[in-house]
Structure formats: C-alpha cells, structure tokens
Amino acid sequence: MTPQARIRNFSIIAHIDHGKSTLADRLLERTGAISEREMREQVLDSMDLERERGITIKAQTVRLHYTAADGQDYVLNLIDTPGHVDFSYEVSRSLAACEGALLLVDAAQGVQAQTLANAYLAIEGGLEIIPALNKIDLPAADPDRVAEEVASVIGGEPEEVLLLSAKTGEGVDELLERIVSDVPPPAGDPEAPLRALVFDSYYDAYRGVVCYIRVVDGVLAAGERVRFIATGDEQDADEIGFLTPKAVPAASLGPGEVGYLITGEKEIDKIKVGDTVTTARRGAVEPLPGYAEPKPMVYSGIFPTEGDDFEDLREALEKLSLNDASLVWEPETSKALGFGFRCGFLGLLHMEIVRERLEREYGLDLVATAPSVAYRVTTTDGQELEVRSPQDLPEPAKIAEIAEPYVRAMILTPAEYVGTIMELVQSRRGEMGSMNYVGTERVEMDYQLPLAEVVFDFFDQLKSRTRGYASLDYEPAGYRPSDLVKVDVLLNGQPVDAFSSIVHRDKAYEYGKRMVERLRELIPRQLFDVPIQAAIGGRIIARETVKARRKDVLAKCYGGDVTRKKKLLERQKEGKRRMKMVGSVEVPQEAFVEALRVDR
C-alpha cells in the first residue's frame, strides 16, 4: 500500500490526435513500465478497432513507478483518454478518478474544440491542470502563439506551458517532475469505511466481471467481502491488483490507489459503472457521487441478420454495456427487420464502433438502421411521448406538437472562415449566439442548432469548408417545437418502417427525392421491377424504379467445368446472405444506413 503522499493520479486529455497515446508511450518507457520488446506505437490502444483506426476509443489506465529528482519513489496512475467528441463520457469518468489533468495541445494545430471542452470538464471537476504543447518537433509548430492561446483558455502565463514532443521524447523528464510537483496527492481518509468508485469494467469469459476502481477512503483487502452500494450485490474480492499495464495482483488497495477488482460475479446487471464498492461489514452507507447518466444523442435500430440470433444479440449488448457505460438500449420490433434493439449512442462514430464491436467481439451479423434523434411529441389527447424511432411517430392527426432536440454548438475556427461557417449554419436552421476571439487569430462561435442538423454530416461539411481548420463541440440545449413531418419509403408498394425518417417540412420534398435516388443505386436489380417511392402521410412525393435484372446466366461453352461453375454460384450465394429480404425485395444490409446518410 502506497502512502497517499506518494501517489499522483492524472488523466491525459486533449483534442483528437494531439498525441495523448503517443505521450503515454513515452511515459511508459521512461518509467520502465514496459520493456523494449513489448513496446509498440500507442501501446495502450489495445483494441483491434483502435489500432486499425489510429484513435483511442476506450480510456486506459496504467500504474507507473517513478523516482523523482527529490530521490523519492512515486506511484503515478495515468489514464489515457480518447479525444473524439463521441467518447467524452470516457473522459469525464476518467477525470473523476484523478486529482490532475495533463492538457495536451498540438503545437501546430493549436487549441481545438475538444481542447476547450475537456479543459472545462477538468476545471469543473476541480482538477489541477498541467498545460503542455505537444509535437514541437513539427516544422509547422508555433509554440509561442499556441502557448498564448492555451493561457487565454485556462488562465496562467504562457511561460508555464510545457513544451513536449511525444515523438522524440523531448520535455518528458520535465513533465514527470511537474506531475509530481503540481498534481495534488489524494486526500482520502484511510481510517474511514471503504469507498471505491467503479469507473470502468469489462466482461471476461473466464473470470466474470472485472471492475476498475479508484479507492477514495479506507482500504480494500484481497479476499474481503464487499458490497456494491447501488445494486446491493455482495461478493468476495477474489482478486485485486494494479494495471502495469498487465494485471498484477496485490494484497490491498489503499486510499488514492487505482486498480482492479474481480469478484467472480457473472451476473452482468449486478455491476454498474459509477457504483461505489464498500466492505460488507461496517461498510459505508453514503455512496460516492458517481456519474451523471450519459444522454444519447442519436438512436438506431440494431437487428440480427438471422432472426434466431436475437438472444445472442441481447447477451452481447449486456456484456458490451459493461465496457461501454454510455450505451443504452431497449427492445424494438420492425416489420421489415424483425426483433432487435433500439440503441442510443453519443454520436455516429460511437454507433459505428458499437456495431463493429458487436460483430467482431461477439461474432454477430447485424443490420443497423439509419440514425435518428429523439423527438418529443405532445398528442392531441395531451400525452407526452419521446419518439426515438420514426416508426413510433403517431399519425399526423394525433399530433398536437413535435419538438426536436437542440444543441449548443461551439465552433473554433481561424477568423477567415467565419463567413462560410455562418452560411453553413444558417442552411442548417442555426441561430447565432456569441462570437469571441481566442488568442488573436482564432474565433470561437456559439450557435443554437437542431441536433438533427448537426449530428449527421455537419462536421464533414464544416471540415471541407474550412480546409480542416475548424473544430466542433456540442452539448444538449433543450427542445424546441418544429414543423416536422415523417417521410416514408415504399418498396414495391409496401412501406418499409426501417427507411422512415423525420425531417423538417421545408426539406421533406428534396429529402424524399434524394432518398429514392439513393436507394435506386443501393438496391440491386431483382427479377422484377421494383418501384421505390417516398411519401408523406400517403401522398407520394418522389418515385424511382429499379429495373428488373434481365440477364443472370454465365455463357459457359460446351459441357463446362461443372465443379468450377458450382463454386462460382456458391460464392454468389454467399454474397446474397448479406441481403435482407424485405417483402419480396432483397435489400443489402448497408442500405439501411447508407440510404439515409444523405445530407439534409
């Protein structure tokens, strides 16, 4: 058990790609946490998806041993966090386990939207912030200007901003000293009853639920009987220990320490991220504050391709939820797609990642429907409904009012792009709030926008209009009544619920037209003509036809190599398995998302 005076708990926070994980590599190296043989780039990004995409999705925690210039040994608990806006829930949970935050800023790109958003999270949490510039090795680095920007955001002097290169290792020694000197040691009460925060977890097929915990007060000893305050679940602490990053068992975890806890619990719903662990006997009564439930931004239906996989999907969602506390879901039934789940996500990237993780980690074959935001409907008989799926929207005659979610969007941009951004925002029904300079060349623009206008392709548009220089962050800002209609799509005369969407009336016609055009390209030719129609409440507003496939035969001459031909057709059949039968029409699985991925 390490005395609290020798413990420093900190998160690395930054805008996406500013080099958090690479800096973590250097810290792991410098403190000898990892051997040269085990080292690889962004070693903490251990998920396949993270490595393929080169981004961090899950926060990762690791315990380092550091002998400081004062000759003392310190334990540093580092949490590497993701930078993408969709994973900010990971950041806020990580911060709750720390006393300090290392705010990293790319010295070439300067302060970006998630730099601000994450800095504010740390400030609100009362954390000590160590500002640092990274990538100072880059020729385009402009440390003086960026240090000014950073100082103007968090206060303090530009000279206090550390200069680092996670690539070359420059500045890392100084950083380690600053962590020891600036991050306050934890101040838990070792004599008080145990209180440890569950800040993350995952499901291990052999060991059951593994919890990541931060001990706040008291001491947790291996083998002790523990209780999870919120769920009331009681278990033995079969194994506790530290992550170095490998799991290393320990006899006890004292106040301020970060580690893992395995109780052998296999019932997933007995463990909740944000819950407080205490001892079963003479335990604490008052839980730690925990976390605010994340509010999903978008919803999408996830369905198994094969109907019999429904239960497997449920189990996979339960297990994945342990490792992704921001995922919410409830059963949903679609006429076109059968039984599945309506899932809530923090954004489109999150949605994509969840679907891929379900497919890869749980071996499922899934269809996802187009994302939708949640609307609030007041019916004519005075009921209030939350509509998370267009198919749940009541008939127009029964609707007294529909309100849609708004966000407060913060856009950070070089001043020269202000004009084009204003245009973009106006076309998305946005309302201008304030505009402020950050440093001398960059502007922070504040807007109120319908979430539905932001969440889909707004960011791509923003990037392309500003040559990649603008960044965006947004947060919920309540609901406002809007003139919204449901656009339905009919395939071969039959409405397909999974293709419906809710759009603003002014954009409905154009939307319907684009939608049927898009579907005409996505739906392969069938053995008969397939009409595709868009309709508002029974009135057809657009129509296209997928002409029947006329030729589907290979001209193999004389007898033909029967075996080879069979294999060829078998392969074509495999391709068809990625199709979903909707009525008598074969629809490729991607179409359910792709079709609605049109800009609105």
């Binding site: 496939r549 004389y558 033909g560 190599d561 075996t563 057709l569 068809k576």
Partner: protein, 392 residues
C-alpha cells in the same frame, strides 16, 4: 444408344435430353493456340508448338491408362485450337481412343476449329480420320467486332471454311458466335446472326461475351475500358432467339440452337449427367460417379503423364443428395429441363423455388421442371444449390 430417328428428332425433346444420359462419350483437350485471345480463360498456351509431339504421346498414354468402357457414342476435341494440331496428330489420338474403347457405329466426332486454319485438304483428312462434326469459332461477321476480340480471321474466312467442311463431307457444322462485345450494336449483331443463318449451318452457339477474371480483357475493364452491357446483351440474346427460331433452329440449351437431328450428342450427354472421359491438360470429366479435373498447367500435366501417373488435379465423388442436385444443376440449362425427382420436389417446396415459379422464371408441367427464361438460369441454379432433402 437408342434414340428416335436422329434426323427428325427435335433438339429440345425431353426424350432426347434424358436418353443422352446413357451415352458413353469423351472429351479431348488440345491447348495450343496461335495467340491467346484477350477474353479467353481456357487452358491454353501460345508459342509452345514444339510440345505438340510430346502432348500427342501424353494423350495416347493417358487414354491407355483409362479404365475399360463400352464403345464411345461421341468424342469431342476442344481447345485451345484443335485445328492447329495437325490432322495426323488428331488422327493418331482418335486411333488411340478407338483402340482403347472402340467407337460405336455412327459415333459423333467433333473438333473445334479456327476458321483461318481451315483448308479443303485439312477437312478431307479429318473426315478420313473419322471426324463427323466441326465447330467453327466464327464469333462474328463484323470486322470491327473481330478486331476488337483480337481474332485472326475475317468474315470471308468463315464462309470459306463452312463451304469446305460441307464439300468434304462433314455431317454437322456449328458456328460459335459471341455477342455483346463493347461497341457491337444490336444491328451489327443482327447482321452476324443473319449471316450465320444464310450459311445454312446445322448448329449455332451464341455466347454473351464474359469478362473472365485474370484475362487481359478483365484488366482492361478494371482500368476503365468499356465492359459488356448486360441489358444490351439481353436484347441481343432475345433477337438471336427470334431470328434463329424463325429460321428453323431450335434452342435446346441456354446458348445452343440446332436444326432437328443436329443436336450435339456430346453436349447432350454432359447435360444429362451422363458419364464422360476426359483427356488432356485442364480437361474435366465424370466417371464412376466422380467429377474429376486434370492438371491445368501444360508442363505439369506432361510431366505427370510421362511419369506414368494419372494427371488428376482433383476428384470429387457425387452421390446421394449431391448427385440429385448435380442432375438438376446440369440439366436445367436445357430447354427440356429436368424430369421430376426428389430435387424437383424440394425445389417446388422451397420458398425461393415457389418465388421463381410465381415470377414465371420456371415452369412445372408434364412431370418436368423447366427454366422458361433462359437468361435467368443462374438465379434458378443458385436456388437449386441451396436445396436440402426436406424442402428449403
């Protein structure tokens, strides 16, 4: 083999289609070509003519290794370009086969021939060697299309070849035609079909140009060259069907038309799931209940045969339910379709089968399942491959 009067029987008659199952036939592959056409993915070589002698001996040796069979009803020399192999070598191989199995009286003996190779003398020597049928790779009567296909002959060569074959006594003459070459219009195709009809050949095969993987054509298409347009090909197919029918040709398989009495027995046997021997590199056959394939690469084939071994690359027994599906798989390409059986029953009970029936792609009548829209045959074949003994 017993069939009705061979000169009047309709090529698409069910009796003819089914009785061909009991024919004994053999295929001989001759891989040598003057140049490899850009669309071709057969087992062919160009510029290796020095191997012809060795290849002849290897064929004879392979024939010698075959198990006994009754006298053959049909023999088919395909390529490659058998017409470049020389009449003596061809005669030698026919002789080796005769010695091994004998040829039944009136046996059909076909070779594929490229028009530019054909001379009256060659025709005469081949008739003397026992050949009765020739299939010319005419491909088109449009010079631009022939050039686009990289062919080495022109339309007059085809006319001369057909005339010589007829004069020298070939009993049956076929023309292979390719449609849908990028740039070929429906009008140009009409002229090609009409020219074939005007030559009064006995048999016509019309193949949609197919972009086969790994060919120069497929690489060109990948780089942006125009690909065949399937809708235009469908129009062209329908036009050919109409013109040929009006001229008295009967379609008996997806791509094959013949005048009464001129259906190709070797082809009929293969589609009837009949057994056939196969010799030469890349040749595939069906004997003793197994489908087999020979080594495709010429050198490897030669080496294996010269070591005294059968040059097999693979062999797969076909029995039980697989055999029933195999029967449907090969048989449904025929206009006559397939006779009822457990596979047909499963097809009619399956969801996909019922759908195809409803859409009029297949019909079930008089104890047979038939594909009525030949251009959609593969959609039916895929459904067949998914069948299980008890329904879908």
């Amino acid at each position: 083999m017993s069939t009705a009067d061979p000169t009047t029987v309709r090529p698409d008659s069910p009796e003819l289609a089914d009785s061909a199952a009991s024919a004994a036939t053999a295929y001989v592959h001759v891989p040598f070509c003057a140049r490899v056409c850009p669309y071709c993915d057969f087992a062919v070589v160009a510029g290796r003519d020095e191997l012809m002698g060795r290849y002849t001996r290897a064929l004879a040796a392979e024939v010698g290794m075959a198990r006994d069979w009754r006298p053959l009803d049909a023999l088919y020399f395909g390529g490659g370009t058998p017409s470049r192999f020389g009449s003596q070598r061809l005669a030698g191989v026919v002789e080796a086969i005769r010695r091994r199995f004998q040829l039944a009286p009136g046996a059909e003996v076909t070779l594929e021939a490229n028009p530019e190779d054909w001379t009256p003398q060659l025709a005469a020597e081949l008739v003397a060697a026992g050949f009765t049928r020739v299939s010319f790779g005419a491909q088109s009567f449009s010079t631009p299309v022939l050039l686009a296909l990289g062919r080495r002959h022109l339309p007059p060569d085809v006319i001369a070849a057909v005339t010589a074959a007829r004069t020298e006594g070939f009993a049956s003459i076929n023309l292979d035609l390719i449609f849908g070459t990028p740039g070929e219009t429906i009008e140009s195709w009409r002229e090609t079909v009409e020219a074939a009809i005007a030559l009064e050949v006995d048999h016509v095969s019309c193949y949609a140009l197919t972009v086969e993987k790994g060919t120069p054509l497929s690489r060109a298409v990948a780089r942006g060259a125009p690909a065949p347009d399937p809708d235009l090909q469908a129009d062209q197919y329908e036009l050919a069907a109409e013109l040929l029918a009006a001229a008295g040709y009967v379609r008996y398989e997806v791509s094959n038309w013949a005048r009464p009495g001129h259906a190709c027995l070797y082809n009929l046997a293969v589609w009837a799931q009949g057994e056939y021997e196969a010799f030469g590199n890349g040749a595939h056959g069906f004997r003793h209940g197994a489908r087999f394939r020979n080594i495709r690469r010429l050198d490897a084939y030669l080496q294996r045969v010269e070591e005294g071994e059968l040059p097999r690359a693979g062999e797969e027994p076909v029995s039980g339910w697989d055999a029933e599906l195999d029967r449907m798989f090969v048989g449904l390409r025929r206009a006559a379709g397939v006779a009822d059986g457990p596979g047909v029953e499963a097809f009619l009970g399956s969801e996909e089968g019922r759908r195809l029936l409803e859409l009029g792609v297949v019909e079930h009548a008089r104890g047979r399942l038939r594909v009525t829209q030949p251009l959609l045959t593969d959609a039916v074949e895929r459904a067949v491959l998914s069948l299980t003994p008890r329904g879908p």
